[in-house]
Amino acid sequence: MSINEIIERHIISVLVDDEPGVLARVIGLFSGRGYNIESLTVAEVEWSRGLSRISIVTSGTPMVIEQIKAQLSRLVPIHSVCDLTEMGAAIERELALVKIINDGDNRIEALRIADTFRARTLDSTLDSFVFEVTGNSSKVAAFIDLMQSLGDVEIARTGVSAISRGNRIDLTAK
């Protein structure tokens, strides 16, 4: 397999004007050009200037990743694009709410595992819990996997939010 065929996972963050249609523009770019979206999160981050940050987890060959960034950069409401994976050690977090319905030993085991994952118990009844777990995607996935083997499970995940380490500001407004 040549270097051009290796599929890499990248977290790309973009700072956008919080205007109608901006999310559709970004998503449309990915679907229209056949790029992957593993997860996408968006929320306003600078109220005074109306800026939102979109974090996208995508995968593709190095050439495709470059294309994705170039394509994003030319959208008019986009202020800046940053490839956090390329920047090195980025902090990546996501939050999941996991509801599990079970009883007996499984219920005790679920609670024990939640404890090792530092999950918080947000709600409990005699035969259910709602846990909140945060971490990188693989930790969240591992927790969900375990819960699924211990009962009936319903999951809500936020998708990945990420930021670089160190004293550098990566995304600035134009």
Binding site: P20, E66, Q67, L75, V76, K174
Partner: protein
């Protein structure tokens, strides 16, 4: 928010550079500020306030087309022949959806167009109101950017930004969706300060990195078998870029090829010009691309019609790519050096740096390279045999070109074989004289585009080189030509087939000509007659020159029905899935080199 504006407030406002005006008036004033002289449009309920304001306006001319798709193509023709932004005005719903093909065409070919669409009033949006369509949703993927104006206070700013976005960086179509209540409400129009603010949000890089220029010159110095491969970016950059290309070519003596969109960037008569490259490009251009050691791409995008099979594309070369759009770089072809910037600025800096580094071409290797190229040219890949019985389409276009050399002519085309023959046999000496639908390949482009060109250049000779099938896709515009006395010459290469479709069916579908015959054609002479135009027919080779002469001598619009050989194919051809060095030169080659299975699935 709409404001009530008593006259005294108007009075007071005008003193501090602010006027209270209706949205439709603000729109027209902002268009005037942007230098708009002509709008191509079609009215309807949602845009009536704009038409009302136009009625009272004496600075902006409105050309009433007969279909909204044609309005966009006309604006494209206007834009590409002038370098200005073309403006379109259509109503909501069907008006907007009819414009979609034109917008996509403009996006693919990087043509600056601003399209104004009416919309139902803001309070009805989302209610499936009469003639409501989600226009910004529908056009998001076929515009460079689009807007829905929900607040009249940002109308002026939005329009100004739309023009800036359409014409800056890599140009393209921008759409503004205008709800009727916004057009009718009253808002502030500012006489100063808007233009500057409108440029703040979209700032494409036009000035290249000086280090990249230096690195490029270092590479160019090594070139022994160089080629310059120029594209539409040179045209879009303005005539100065073409002048600089000429300077570069004279300085280096390097062979130069141009893409379909780039024709005219270097005069066809220049001895360094190898002709167009790509699927129907010349033998010499494609072979030189294949065998070169340094390729200098200026404003072209390694389109699949140009590269052929990527794995076989110019395997021995180091490639430099100059483009204003970073997303064009390393998209299809991996290059060794990219220079992001406007072609004019880049060429200026490149030429200056070549002088600083006292650039001199490698005479010995260049002579050898040219000798090789000349041997390819000897093949005479565009040769054809006219004969006495039927008009060969190539001959018709060649004669048209020869007989119009003394005129400042503008040529548009439809899409198909005739388009490729026009590119091959019509010589363009200047930029902005050739308008064709390259990226999208839109049949029906040529007639409305010619209409737009003629509006921009009332005294010039404007010719639509058409195929009979394509012509019928927008021939309602004959009525527009008649209304405005636009003397467009429609030169129909009538082979009674969707020739290009027929050619592919012959090549890859065993000659099963499924639905590609142009049946029930109108009598084009009578058609011309019903619109009060002159109709001419050339049936035999001996008729041709006479018909062309008469067409050129006629002051008004003319439809010339040129009955050509029906089964002629367009050569040379790089079949889909083949590389530059695997071209078919003619029917004999076609039989000897069947198309690969991978090639069959490509378009």
């Amino acid at each position: 928010m709409a404001k009530s504006a008593p006259t005294d407030r108007k009075q007071a406002a005008s003193e501090n550079g602010v006027l209270a005006l209706a949205g439709a008036e603000i729109l027209l004033k902002t268009l005037e500020d942007e230098g708009v002289e002509v709008i191509f449009g079609y009215p309807g309920g949602a845009v009536l306030p704009i038409y009302d304001a136009l009625f009272k306006n004496n600075k902006i001319r409105h050309i009433l087309v007969r279909h909204e798709q044609a309005a966009v193509h006309a604006a494209e023709g206007y834009a590409r022949s002038t370098g200005k932004v073309g403006v379109v005005l259509v109503t909501s719903g069907p008006g907007a959806t009819n414009a979609v093909t034109g917008l996509t065409d403009a996006l693919m070919d990087s043509v600056p167009v601003v399209c104004l669409t009416g919309q139902v009033p803001t309070h009805l949006i989302g209610n499936d109101a009469f003639q409501e369509a989600d226009t910004t949703g529908i056009t998001r993927a076929c515009t460079k950017h689009n807007y829905l104006v929900k607040d009249g206070d940002v109308l002026q700013q939005t329009v100004a930004e739309a023009f800036h976005v359409a014409r800056s960086g890599r140009p393209g179509p921008v759409l503004i969706d205008l709800p009727k209540d916004i057009l009718m409400g009253e808002y502030d129009y500012k006489t100063v300060g808007v233009a500057a603010v409108a440029k703040q949000r979209y700032v494409p890089q036009t000035r290249p990195d000086a280090e990249a220029i230096k690195a490029a010159v270092a590479m160019l110095k090594r070139a022994e078998r160089p080629i310059i491969y120029g594209g539409g970016g040179i045209i879009n950059s303005g005539p100065k870029a073409s002048a600089l290309l000429q300077q570069l070519v004279d300085m280096t003596g390097w062979p130069t090829t141009l893409t379909l969109m780039g024709l005219g960037a270097l005069p066809a008569s220049d001895k360094h010009f190898l002709g167009m490259l790509g699927m129907h490009g010349t033998y010499e251009a494609n072979w030189a691309m294949h065998d070169c050691d340094i390729m200098l791409n200026i404003g072209a995008r390694f389109d699949d019609r140009v590269t052929g099979r990527i794995s076989g594309f110019s395997p021995k070369s180091e490639k430099i790519h100059i483009d204003i759009d970073p997303s064009s770089v390393n998209k299809n072809v991996k290059v060794d050096l990219s220079i992001i910037g406007d072609a004019t600025t880049v060429l200026e800096m490149l030429i200056a740096e070549m002088k600083v580094q006292s650039f001199a071409p490698h005479e010995a290797s260049l002579t050898k390279w040219w000798k090789q190229i000349k041997s390819w040219q000897k093949i005479n890949c565009l040769g054809f045999d006219q004969g006495a019985d039927v008009i060969k389409p190539q001959h018709a276009i060649k004669r048209l070109c020869e007989m119009t050399q003394d005129r400042d002519s503008y040529v548009t085309t439809e899409v198909g074989q005739h388009q490729m023959w026009a590119a091959q046999y019509f010589d363009f000496e200047k930029p902005n004289r050739w308008m064709t639908s390259g990226g999208l390949g839109t049949m029906g482009y040529g007639l409305p585009a010619a209409l737009g060109v003629q509006v921009a250049h009332p005294d010039a000779l404007v010719i639509d080189i058409a195929g009979e099938a394509s012509f019928m896709m927008n021939m309602q515009e004959l009525s527009t030509l008649a209304q405005y006395s636009l003397p467009v010459k429609m030169f129909i290469i009538n082979n009674e087939w969707m020739g290009m479709v027929r050619q592919w069916q012959e090549l890859i579908h065993g000659g099963r000509y499924s639905e590609s015959y142009s049946a029930s054609l109108p009598d084009f002479r009578k058609l011309a007659d019903t619109f009060g135009m002159v109709g001419l027919v050339a049936e035999k080779p001996d008729d041709l020159d006479g018909v062309i002469t008469e067409m050129l001598a006629t002051p008004g619009p003319v439809i010339a029905d040129i009955r050509v050989a029906k089964e002629e194919n367009c050569f040379p051809m790089i079949p889909s899935g083949a590389a530059h060095n695997e071209m078919l030169l003619g029917p004999a080659d076609q039989a000897a080199k069947p198309i690969s299975e991978e090639g069959m699935v490509l378009v």
